[in-house]
């Protein structure tokens, strides 16, 4: 349900991405229309039970949409949720999963 497809690392030319070993992803549009068109591929609706997050996805704790990145998330990454205009930082929970914490 992540709607992403992995791209081989060597295809990535962005210097920042090349600095670490993160997997990268091509983001497809999923019908999310709550932000201007150029940003739509970076968000999708959470489908509830049976849905799961990819390594490049976190849920916004404020508005519950899934925020997607072209790169695998790591703790410390800064994230912006355009649908509710919240700013967050990615943290690792005790169980090892990643989540976003809102910063005010």
């Amino acid at each position: 349900m992540t709607g992403t497809s992995q791209v081989h690392q060597t295809l990535e030319t962005d210097r920042e991405v090349a600095d670490d070993d993160r997997r990268t992803f091509v983001l497809d549009e999923t019908g999310f229309k709550e932000v201007p068109k150029r940003w739509r591929r970076f968000y999708r609706h959470w489908q509830g039970e049976g849905d799961s997050l990819g390594p490049n996805e976190v849920i916004c704790p404020v508005c519950k949409v899934v925020i997607r990145s072209t790169r695998e998330f790591r703790p410390g990454d800064r994230v912006y949720c355009m649908p509710c205009m919240s700013r967050m930082v990615v943290v690792r929970r005790d169980d090892g999963t990643l989540e976003a914490e809102v910063t005010y």
Binding site: C81, P83, C84, M85
Partner: protein, 300 residues
């Protein structure tokens, strides 16, 4: 702070809302969409739908009065701009839910008497508590009451209604989807703007916590009233869904919402899941902005 507030622009709202998910909609749904005949021709379901829609109108009228009042109380122009867009969002919600009453067969001249007849008195009291804060000129308490408590409740209630309408009433489900998208911005503003203001005014915490506790009580009382009257309509809705599914040669599906199977859960179970979900969200949202959630007493 300046960067954060600069997000609240009319241009951004235009791109997200009228030019985004509301593009090509009429009263919030696709042109030509209509209420299903299985609902319009069924006395039990029709009255239940009218009663539910009246609660939505009552809540949105309160939100319209509160957000418009908060525009002039806001301490900065970015917040005024955002609340101006929220005022238009709330006015749209009043309009689309009122239009739904007309679509359900309520005559225009009977609108106010229908609202008076079905509006739950506990929901009215819930609204009055919020509007008292706004009329007293209390911006921080007003935004917490409006954008965290009221909008947090609406966000969850709309999600539940959307989940129950998705298969049988796509017109109403789409109408709700647009309001849910609006609520995302509203709860986001509530948390983000108050998250910074409350740290500058810690003396406001006690008063806001009491307001949240009181509003939560009347919210639970509203849920109790609404669900205690809904057993027959829930069973009738399931019967119609099963009949429709049989006609189509399939099954009615297994709509799940926060762990509850909406096709088989008892009315008491659904009410419990709704109440727990909303109160859990209050606790999380208030905790993030430094306000301690207060458990309400349970209505008799």
């Amino acid at each position: 702070m300046a960067d954060f507030l600069s997000q609240y622009s009319i241009q951004r709202w235009l791109e997200m809302c009228p030019q985004g998910y509301l593009e090509d909609t009429v009263y919030g749904h696709a042109e030509g969409g209509s209420e299903p005949p299985e609902l319009l021709d069924n006395e039990v379901l029709l009255e239940s739908s009218i009663a539910t829609t009246v609660q939505l109108i009552a809540g949105e009228r309160c939100a319209l009065a509160a957000s418009s009042g908060l525009v002039n109380l806001a301490p900065d122009f970015a917040s005024k701009r955002f609340l101006a867009t929220q005022t238009l969002d709330e006015a749209r919600h009043v309009e689309i839910f009122t239009q739904r009453l007309f679509d359900l067969g309520v005559a225009k001249e009977d609108l106010e008497s229908t609202v008076d007849r079905y509006a739950n008195p506990n929901l009215v009291r819930f609204a009055e508590i919020l509007l008292e804060k706004v009329s007293d000129g209390d911006f921080i308490a007003g935004v917490v009451g409006q954008n965290i408590v009221l909008e947090g409740m609406a966000f969850t209630v709309f999600e539940l209604l959307e989940a129950t309408s998705r298969d049988l009433n796509p017109k109403f489900a789409q109408t709700l989807s647009g309001t849910i998208a609006d609520e995302r911005r509203h709860v986001g503003f509530g948390e983000n703007r108050i998250g910074s203001l409350i740290s500058e005014h810690p003396e406001k915490r006690g008063e806001i916590e009491r307001m949240q506790q009181e509003m939560s009580y009347y919210m639970l009382a509203t849920f109790a009233d609404v669900f205690s009257d809904s057993g027959e309509s829930v069973e009738e809705g399931r019967r119609v869904a099963n009949d429709l599914a049989a006609e189509r040669g399939g099954d009615p599906g297994d709509a799940a919402w926060h762990g509850a199977d909406l096709g088989s859960a008892s009315v008491e179970e659904i009410e419990g899941v709704l109440a727990d979900t909303v109160l859990g969200e209050f606790r999380s949202r208030l905790g993030r902005i430094g306000i301690e959630y207060q458990s309400p007493s349970v209505p008799a």
